[in-house]
């Protein structure tokens, strides 16, 4: 198993090595030691490999990830898994702002809490946060699912499009055009499937979550809705 120690190797060397991997590589499990909060660690990986990062990471860890399964044994800075296309990113600690921002696909799991703007402009990514999330999360969220075991901050789902939000705790306030919707059996099945993919197969009741989505009142500008803008 390749081990890259960022105490003496650069992020540039690490990322270049990962970008050179062939699709059929047999170097399928990598370990990153001493990340020490550095930025853009394993950004732009496009290979079906596993990556274990032993420590805290800075901004944009696993940015634009494709295929790789990344596990961060620590906390993550701003924009972890931003614009992820596929694969999995699992943060075992807390994450800063804009986690999973604009992600098009894949799965982001956060064992701790997420700060503001979690899932902002998400475009198909699934995000599961075991703790709570900050204000303005899922702002302009276009597609995908955001699941929160704890509480959500102010203005959840402001100007949301077709993404779905599931929250088990309290929601401080909903943003413009975001409403609670009744969960159907299909919704519960979808949530259960997502929880299963995130590793929560037992002991989590999908029925304990409340579901939020777009009222679709702002899809076309109308002067009567001007106070919502």
């Amino acid at each position: 198993m390749p081990v890259v120690d960022l105490a003496w190797q650069s992020v540039r060397e690490l990322n270049a090595a990962l970008h050179r991997l062939a699709a059929e590589t047999n170097e399928t499990l990598w370990e990153i030691a001493n990340p020490n909060g550095k930025h853009a660690i394993v950004a732009g990986v496009d290979a079906p490999i596993g990556i274990e990062i032993k420590g805290h990471v800075g901004y944009y860890c696993a940015g634009m990830n494709k295929q790789a399964s990344v596990r961060i044994h620590g906390n993550a800075g701003t924009g972890v898994a931003e614009n992820m296309m596929s694969g999995t990113v699992h943060v075992m600690g807390d994450v800063s702002q804009s986690a999973g921002a604009t992600g098009h696909g894949g799965l982001l799991i956060v064992d701790g809490n997420a700060a503001a703007r979690c899932g902002i402009s998400m475009k198909g990514i699934d995000i599961v946060v075991k703790g709570s999330i900050g204000a303005m999360s899922a702002f302009m969220a276009q597609a995908g699912n955001l699941v929160v075991f704890g509480d959500a901050g102010d203005a959840l789902g402001d100007s949301i499009y077709e993404a779905t939000i599931f929250v088990r705790g309290n929601v401080k306030s909903l943003g413009a055009d975001c409403i609670e919707r009744p969960m159907t059996e299909q919704d519960r099945t979808r949530l259960a499937d997502l929880l299963g993919r995130a590793g929560f197969r037992d002991g989590v009741d999908p029925g304990a979550f409340r579901m939020y989505g777009s009222a679709r009142r702002l899809y076309h500008f109308h002067i009567d809705n001007v106070s919502s803008y």
Binding site: Y59, K66, Y161
Partner: protein, 442 residues
């Protein structure tokens, strides 16, 4: 019996002119602001207010048809492993597929490639057609991140982080429902037919310190190959240029308020931002103070119409210019041959700016399958190539007259201003004097 008493002519107010009255009436009837395309239409200090001095006894000209005058430019030489080389210093500004039809994007690519310059994507991602037809393609990273993906980042020749544009510094994108076709909606992961308003702020960075880290991430993803531009709408060009340089940009793009938009509120276009002419010297000043002039390249856009504008922008310190509106006109926008159809839309050739409506009779700013067939991308590309060639030829003509063997050798000392305000803004002497307003005479 009719009175023979003399009467004065009806007098229109300069304050409440006909346009202003019609806008008040329109606003009262609809309850919504006016949305249109294009850039600022009001009269502004511009390149027309400058003149070149040309050679004289103390300056030696080059022969117009015999002596070489270079036009090439390299963009991205600061950090990128693969800077881009343009044969002429005129690029095509970012315009989205969605705002423009597929054939229009193809025509832009064909025309630019024919003369060795670049085109730029827009707020909607990269299409295969524009990648195929653009030999040098700049990929925009916008707040919306519609269609953003690492594969397109890597197949681009350069990356442009868009902070703002001249028509609306501080405003987000807008594409009305009539232009959100199934393909446009699919590329943007949005429901078909909605009024799309994209964000004005980037989702994952705030301020210059974050931008520096964002640029670092983009370089990491692309293995430090691609030049990275930072584009801002002209408002505080001195500080924005300095902060873009501090953030690690290879190229700074400043777009003045004459720069076009596909769809923005009229009040925004006409009242926010500063003219292109006013932005150049402040941006150049920032680069010079940092010792980065000609090391971080400066691209200027907004109201570039002819080779004289190109030459003046370069003389004031820009490395290249970008055109958008002029490129669309070259393709066939506002063609007088379509006058009857413009009349049917309530306008006239030369004034058509309802690019947001998607009913463009020239087939350029539309997603209507029938209308877009009207633009032949091969013919359109040829027309654009012709226009770009003329811009270069005209700029060369002026540069040779000033004794310059390369367009980049033009300098502020070659210019004078026709008005006091242009002299103050461009920091060149008022014509017939040695007076630069705001600068003490020594």
């Amino acid at each position: 019996m009719a009175s023979s008493k003399p009467r004065t002519e009806p007098r229109f107010s300069a304050t409440f002119d006909r346009y202003t009255i019609s806008e008040i009436q329109r606003a009262a009837a609809t309850g919504i602001y006016d949305i249109r395309g294009g850039g600022a239409k009001r009269r502004l200090p511009h390149f027309d207010d400058l003149l070149f001095l040309g050679a004289s006894i103390s300056r030696y000209p080059l022969e117009g048809y015999r002596e070489k005058c270079g036009t090439d430019v390299v963009l991205g030489s600061r950090f990128a492993r693969k800077p881009i080389h343009l044969k002429i210093p005129v690029t095509i500004a970012g315009m989205s597929f969605g705002a423009l039809s597929g054939p229009a994007k193809e025509a832009l690519g064909r025309g630019a490639s024919a003369v060795g310059t670049s085109t730029t994507t827009g707020d909607g991602g990269m299409t295969d057609e524009e990648r195929t037809h653009s030999s040098i393609l700049v990929y925009q990273v916008l707040p919306s991140r519609y269609g953003m993906n690492p594969d397109d980042l890597r197949r681009a020749d350069a990356i442009e982080v868009v902070v703002g544009q001249g028509a609306k510094p501080g405003g987000g994108g807008m594409l009305l429902g009539q232009k959100i076709s199934a393909r446009v909606a699919g590329m943007r992961t949005l429901p078909e037919g909605i009024d799309q308003r994209s964000a004005s702020r980037h989702p994952d960075w705030t301020g210059p310190d974050d931008l520096e880290i964002k640029i670092e991430e983009l370089r990491e993803i692309t293995d430090w190959e691609k030049p990275i531009y930072v584009k801002v709408g002209a408002s505080r060009p001195y500080y924005d240029t300095a902060l873009a340089v501090k953030s690690g940009a290879d190229v700074v793009v400043i777009d003045g308020m004459q720069g076009g938009t596909a769809a923005t509120q009229e009040v925004f276009i006409e009242n926010v931002g500063i003219p292109t002419l006013a932005a150049i010297r402040q941006a150049v000043e920032a680069l010079q103070e940092l010792g980065m002039h000609r090391k971080v390249q400066l691209v200027i856009s907004g109201g570039i119409r002819n080779g004289a504008d190109v030459a003046k922008a370069l003389a004031l310190g820009a490395d290249a210019v970008a055109i958008g509106t002029a490129a669309l006109i070259a393709l066939g926008d506002n063609d007088p041959a379509l006058e009857a159809e413009y009349n049917a839309l309530g306008t006239t050739a030369g004034a058509y700016d309802d690019w947001q409506d998607g009913r463009d009779p020239a087939g350029i700013t539309t997603q209507d399958p029938e209308l877009e067939k009207r633009l032949d991308p091969i013919i359109g590309g040829r027309r654009l190539a012709n226009f770009l060639s003329v811009l270069a030829l005209e700029a060369q003509t002026i540069a040779r007259a000033c004794g310059k063997s390369h367009l980049h050798n033009l300098e502020p000392e070659d210019l004078v201003a026709l008005t006091v305000e242009a002299a103050a803004i461009a920091r060149v002497p008022l014509v017939g004097t040695d007076w630069i307003p705001g600068q003490s005479r020594t």
